[in-house]
């Protein structure tokens, strides 16, 4: 049970308060971007390239323009006149808005049709004739690194190869020495496949430019409205759209998971169209466009190695990565971290030597490298360390649970400095794994497994004990395009004691309207029910960097607590004034101040707030409002211990997930119901890449599964019945001891599943399987070993 300091009526932290936002969604009254309809609104549809690499010889829009309702066809050449045909990516690379001569990946935007209706726009799209001169694309990232490979980014002056950047960190020489001398060295090659967040709502916008007052209202599916406003100003400032003239509104969002962080060409074209025509322009991509052209996630090829002793001590790790970014580096990492937080990859284990390096490369595939419900490449890192730890256990013939217990950082050793320089704030890894093992009856399962193996049946148990790194981030290291990664809260309490609170983040389903209210309720004792939370409108909310990478609770949640504490200090002063005592004579109980030893002398928070407008001490500022911009002193480090149990059918390769137990530690819990819900959802997005999802390209750069017919998003049938639990190790530096949780399960689940399947197959000499692990791959592996 989670302890609550407040009553249910107040519903501060720890209460499973039912969500305040649910009413409108349950009655079909949500307001998603495609629900917005403005007077004289036009519709945009986008012509896309069928080829991965081609020169555009001609764009003929005559037939399209002859269609009733089609008003314009906008090409790269049109945008070029305004110097709007290129834009920066969040990683300071460059990206075409619309091409003037060459297309670099299949489904790239070629031109846009503007029409008076959705159907006319689609008719226009079909009628535009584009002729291409097709070129041989570079698809394989290893081949792209060849000296003989054609240089793709000829737009970059002097570019002589397809290499984007090199990154390395850690103790190179010491690592090499340990590897050279170690008793045991294991190595596996792993591909973390290219996948897609595929939120059920696709991306889109309504760009609404008003010529008369030079004002742009931009309704769009964005997880980071303020940052986007700044980016728009950077891209379009030279045509007069300066930042004070731009209002970005992020309405209800139908799932984001990282895919709604970047600026896609469609948004910019819609703005340009509205700017040129002077009417609102709606652009809503369809699912195939979403899967084929919007930012992908992952696509890391990792060589993972571990060195250790025969009795199980981990001594060092080494990771070498090739990162396929497609046509441009359009990731959304903090500027100083081209591989995101990959360097968390030394994991939950106590050793002091590691070396990691990464080379990023251009290919003729869609650009990206955003997260998929994951904090900046942590999933890739966790897969590498958790898989290689199992490989090491297998090599030395020791149970993977024992190896983990032997190597875990001890609870008393926190804060703990990792070999990559991170300071892990807190954790109790032994307790988490023990709870998970007790829950599944781990040693009982191992016995059962031995018996089943005797009968020739394949059963596997897989563990993943991960450390996450979230809450970017401290301003000394973390920025996006130079903007420091703080976040903000502004609380206004009205005279009658009810409040509105606004934030720089933006919920996409995480339940901020409820949890932020609970944080403020915890501090001020105003019922969460009476605190209205608002996000997503840059004209009203304070500046913040948005919601992704599990950063909302660590940053904006902290800002809410600190702002509320400022108000509580003020409340104490007013209470002292009203009760005619000194501040030190007052005691606090959630929702009221009373005089020590005289509990009948009391002022409720509502009375105090009312007095702040009606009867406050001379010299004090009137009203009851506070704002805080929170710059976190450190990141937070949630952790988890996951155990997966599978049975594999030898004949068909079919994998049956029998049980999955997830023990999470996200520090203090604000709303257990919402935390559990986040874990369930993240686990399903963890089984997805482990067993089902991968964007597949052929050698000509054609996507082979670019629709939801063949890109396998798990349904309720594929998704197991998840079992969840938690340990609570508060973050010592976070104002309410919370850490963030939305992404832990997506990060932690894939290696647990992969480890379970490999464990099932290990009696036949199988040491590794590439995700997604499909029945076909299993069957093939067993066939190669002569088992079937």
């Amino acid at each position: 049970m989670i302890e609550c300091k407040t009553s249910k009526a107040i519903s501060g932290m720890g209460h499973s308060m039912k969500r305040k936002e649910d009413g409108r969604f349950l009655h079909g009254q949500g307001n998603y971007v495609d629900d917005i309809k403005l007077p004289d609104m036009l519709y945009m549809d986008i012509v896309r390239s069928p080829y991965a690499y081609a020169k555009i010889k001609n764009i003929d829009s005559t037939a399209a323009l002859a269609i009733p309702g089609v008003l314009a066809v906008i090409t790269g050449k049109d945008l070029e006149q305004y110097n709007l045909h290129w834009m920066p990516t969040l990683m300071s690379d460059t990206q075409m808005v619309l091409p003037t001569d060459t297309v670099m990946y299949q489904a790239q935007e070629v031109c846009a049709v503007i029409a008076t209706s959705r159907y006319a726009a689609r008719d226009g799209r079909e009628a535009v004739k584009v002729s291409y001169e097709v070129m041989k694309p570079v698809i394989d990232p290893y081949k792209a690194m060849d000296a003989s490979a054609p240089v793709l980014r000829t737009d970059k002056e002097g570019k002589k190869d397809n290499h984007i950047w090199h990154w390395e960190a850690g103790q190179k020489e010491r690592t090499e020495k340990i590897f050279a001398e170690a008793e045991v060295v294991v190595k596996e090659q792993m591909h973390i496949p290219r996948i897609h967040v595929s939120s059920i709502e696709t991306c889109g916008c309504v760009a609404d430019y008003h010529k008369v007052n030079n004002q742009l209202n931009m309704y769009m599916t964005t997880q980071a409205p303020h940052a986007i406003r700044t980016v728009i100003a950077l891209v379009a400032g030279h045509v007069g759209l300066t930042e004070e003239k731009i209002r970005v509104i992020s309405p209800d969002i139908g799932g984001g998971f990282g895919g709604k962080v970047p600026v896609y060409p469609g948004y910019v074209i819609a703005i340009a169209a509205s700017f040129l025509i002077g009417q609102p322009v709606k652009w809503i991509e369809d699912r195939s466009e979403n899967l084929q052209a919007d930012s992908f996630a992952r696509d890391y090829h990792i060589t993972a190695e571990m060195a250790g002793t025969k009795d199980g001590k981990i001594l060092a790790t080494r990771f070498k990565i090739l990162a396929d970014h497609g046509y441009t580096d359009a990731s959304a990492n903090p500027s100083k971290f081209p591989t995101g937080m990959f360097s968390i990859g030394t994991g939950s284990y106590d050793y002091d030597t590691s070396f990691m390096e990464c080379d990023a490369v251009y290919t003729n595939k869609p650009p990206g490298g955003v997260a998929y419900r994951c904090s900046f490449r942590v999933t890739e890192a966790v897969h590498a360390i958790e898989r290689i730890t199992d490989r090491f256990s297998l090599e030395i013939g020791k149970d993977p649970a024992d190896v983990r217990m032997q190597n875990f950082i001890k609870k008393e050793d926190f804060p703990w400095k990792s070999p990559m320089g991170w300071e892990y704030d807190s954790g109790d890894y032994h307790a988490g794994l023990k709870l998970a093992m007790d829950t599944v009856d781990y040693w009982g399962l191992r016995k059962k497994q031995a018996e089943m193996r005797k009968e020739g049946k394949l059963m596997g148990i897989g563990i993943s004990t991960f450390t996450e790194i979230v809450g970017a981030g401290p301003s000394k290291d973390f920025d996006i395009l130079g903007i420091k990664m703080f976040d903000s809260a502004e609380i206004r309490v009205h005279p009658t004691g009810k409040a509105i609170a606004r934030f720089g983040t933006k919920s996409q389903g995480q339940g901020h309207e409820t949890t932020y209210a609970q944080i403020i309720a915890e501090v001020l004792g105003i019922p969460a029910e009476n605190i209205q939370v608002e996000e997503g409108d840059t004209d009203t909310a304070p500046y913040g960097l948005g919601t992704y990478a599990s950063r909302s609770t660590p940053t904006a949640g902290a800002a809410a607590a600190v702002a509320a504490r400022k108000l509580k200090d003020k409340a104490r002063k007013i209470a002292a004034y009203l009760l005619e005592v000194s501040e030190e004579d007052l005691e606090w109980e959630p929702g009221k101040f009373f005089v020590k030893g005289a509990p009948e002398k009391v002022k409720t928070i509502q009375e105090i707030v009312f007095a702040s407008y009606t009867n406050f001490p001379q010299g004090m500022e009137a009203g009851f409002e506070a704002t805080h911009y929170y710059d976190p002193p450190n990141l937070t480090f949630p952790s988890g211990a996951y155990i997966c149990v599978v049975e594999v059918d030898k004949e068909t390769g079919a994998i049956d997930v029998k049980r999955f137990v997830a023990i999470d530690d996200c520090g203090n819990i604000i709303n257990p119901m919402i935390v559990q819900g986040q874990v369930h959802g993240g686990l399903t997005q963890g089984i997805a890449p482990a067993m089902y999802e991968e964007l597949i390209y052929d050698e000509d750069g054609n996507i082979l599964n670019g629709t939801l017919m063949d890109y396998l998003v798990p349904t309720a049938v594929e998704s197991p019945s998840w079992e969840t639990g938690h340990t609570v190790t508060p973050s010592p530096h976070h104002p309410i001891g919370a850490k963030g949780v939305g992404e832990s399960p997506t990060v932690g689940a894939p290696p647990a599943i992969a480890n379970a399947i490999v464990d099932a197959l290990s009696p036949y000499g199988i040491t590794h399987m590439e995700i997604p692990i499909t029945p076909f791959k299993v069957w093939k592996a067993l066939k190669e070993k002569g088992v079937v």
């Binding site: 079909g28 495609d34 939120s199 389903g509 874990v679 309720a716």
Partner: protein, 167 residues
């Protein structure tokens, strides 16, 4: 060229002239301005557009408006009054069966027919029953719980606890 059709949506009759190719989901969302029915794909895969047509759950993105001529439709706007919750709506709220809410209307309409045909479904029957509806946020555990909750309430039985269960 347009065709004249007559349809009943949530008890109200509408007569409209529509293009023969107009999709039912667009008729509902744009011509009738009821935006609770959503669009999540272009291949009949996600179920966000699910409504009831003469009591049967259908994906309105794959039906032409003209095919709905003379039919009786129910959308999310029609399952309860705005200030009320039917058992499924209540079940979803009480059990945290929604996050972003985008799949929710379709899930509720699909579950409506499911419970109509099978008032007391097992977990497995529920999972198969909603397998035409994708949810990217919830991981389905709580959607299953929500439908069980409504099933119990429909049958006059006390539903299971809505507190989250932790191991």
């Amino acid at each position: 060229m347009t065709k004249h059709i007559k349809i009943t949506v949530n008890g109200t009759e509408h007569e409209l002239d529509v293009e023969p190719r107009l999709l039912l989901v667009h008729l509902i969302r744009e011509n009738l301005a009821m935006t609770g029915t959503h669009i999540g794909c272009d291949t009949t895969s996600c179920g966000a557009c699910t409504i009831l047509m003469d009591g049967k759950s259908v994906k309105s993105c794959t039906i032409l408006a003209v095919q709905a001529n003379g039919k009786n439709l129910t959308t999310i706007e029609g399952v309860s009054a705005e200030n009320e919750y039917n058992h499924l709506q209540e079940g979803f709220k009480e059990n945290h069966g929604l996050h972003c809410g985008f799949c929710t209307p379709g899930m509720i309409l699909r579950a409506t027919e499911l419970l109509e045909n099978n008032p007391d479904p097992t977990e497995e029957e529920i999972r198969w029953g909603i397998s035409g509806n994708l949810c990217r946020c919830t991981g389905y555990n709580n959607i299953v719980k929500a439908i069980k909750y409504a099933s119990a309430k429909n049958r006059g039985i006390e539903p299971a606890s809505t507190e989250p269960e932790f191991v």
